[in-house]
Subunit: 197 residues, 2 copies
DNA sequence: CGGTATCGATACTAGGAGTAGCATAACTCG
DNA sequence: CGAGTTATGCTACTCCTAGTATCGATACCG
């Protein structure tokens, strides 16, 4: 794949991501203006707007980078889900990440385009992976995501602090219990045999 | 109680509340500027700022008025909690209320003063009432509130639509199960007898 | 060296939160 | 009725932020 003509982009994405989280962590989401983020990264604001169309897109991109792939490991479905909940809770507790997440989520509520970006780029990969590994339908996985992420963000938003371990464990217990009770399905297609009408 | 001197305030609070919800419902939270809300209410913007210090305070006040007292009724704790969850879910689904709630919550994440207003004026009354009627400690009631409200707002924020009845019932089932399992406490002080050291 | 695309810097537009000042309206008291 | 007091409407303003425009300089390719 030949390099396209013109001056190549300098590899500053990681620098911008780091500057974004640092600025949000130290000043809060609203005061983390694009100007300040650019200054913290040592680049011009216009350079940021050449790479990300809006501030929300920048934050989303930063979060996708910060979260990385989810560790969906465990002996059974319960362990996988427990590990996933503890993982996202820890991530939201990291400096800057939780505030960035809450901030961009907040913006997305009233911005359909940003909501689309957030849903597609950030949520969907994890949702699809969870549907696979848990062998659960989309509706149910979306419900779990709403419960877990919604709870963690509500706690962060109302108190300004991430959820403590004790409550995270209560969340794990509650959600895993729900997973194992309702329509328990261990094997995908054979659980409910098709019935001819 | 003698009327204080000067021109009395005109009784426009209800008009402003209605105009606020209407404007948010039709234009969305971000486009519902104070100017537009004032115009919809047929008053001057300065009049709004004489009664509420900030836009967030106006929305919070509007929500307190819109929610009203929670119907904490039922034969036992499970019924009370179930009714409360269905009630808040229905409220958040009403036109304008959910968007207003999500919007002001969003703003509060990065605004400690607004967070204080929201916590004190909106959440605390319901939290205290729930602690009484459920006979549960503060920490546990706060956890339930985080789960229920967080889940409902996350669904509204990610999809733009309130949670459907099926999922609300799943939420009810999940939370009520947690209420009845963990440290079940039927009587307040006698459950754990004081032990002299 | 020519072509192309990025970067930095400065200046700009658009829009919303919140404020200031003033004329006017409404009400109480004497 | 008139003086005192407070609320309202209106206009104009400040401050801040997202996002855009422009232009010279820079880096890479052939």
């Amino acid at each position: 794949m030949p390099r396209p003509p013109g001056r190549p982009r300098s590899g500053i994405d990681d620098t911008v991501f780091a500057a974004t989280l640092e600025t949000i962590d130290s000043l809060g989401y609203t005061r983390a203006t694009v100007d300040r983020i650019a200054a913290a990264a040592g680049i011009a604001k216009t350079t940021i707007y050449r790479r990300w169309p809006t501030k929300g897109a920048l934050i989303t991109s930063c979060l996708v980078d910060a979260f990385g792939p989810a560790p969906l490991t465990g002996a059974d479905r319960s362990e996988v889900l427990s590990a996933a909940i503890r993982w996202i809770a820890a991530k939201i507790g990291e400096p800057g990440i939780g505030a960035a997440f809450a901030g961009v989520f907040t913006d997305a509520v009233n911005d359909p385009e940003l909501r689309q970006i957030l849903s597609t780029q950030l949520q969907d990969p994890y949702r699809l992976a969870l549907e696979q590994v848990l062998n659960e339908p989309e509706q149910r996985v979306l419900f779990f995501i709403d419960v877990v992420v919604g709870t963690l963000l509500h706690r962060l938003g109302m108190t300004g602090r991430p959820m403590v371990t004790t409550d995270v464990e209560a969340l794990v217990t509650m959600v895993v219990a729900t997973l194992n009770e309702s329509p328990a399905q261990q094997s995908p297609t054979s659980a409910v045999p098709a019935r001819r009408s």
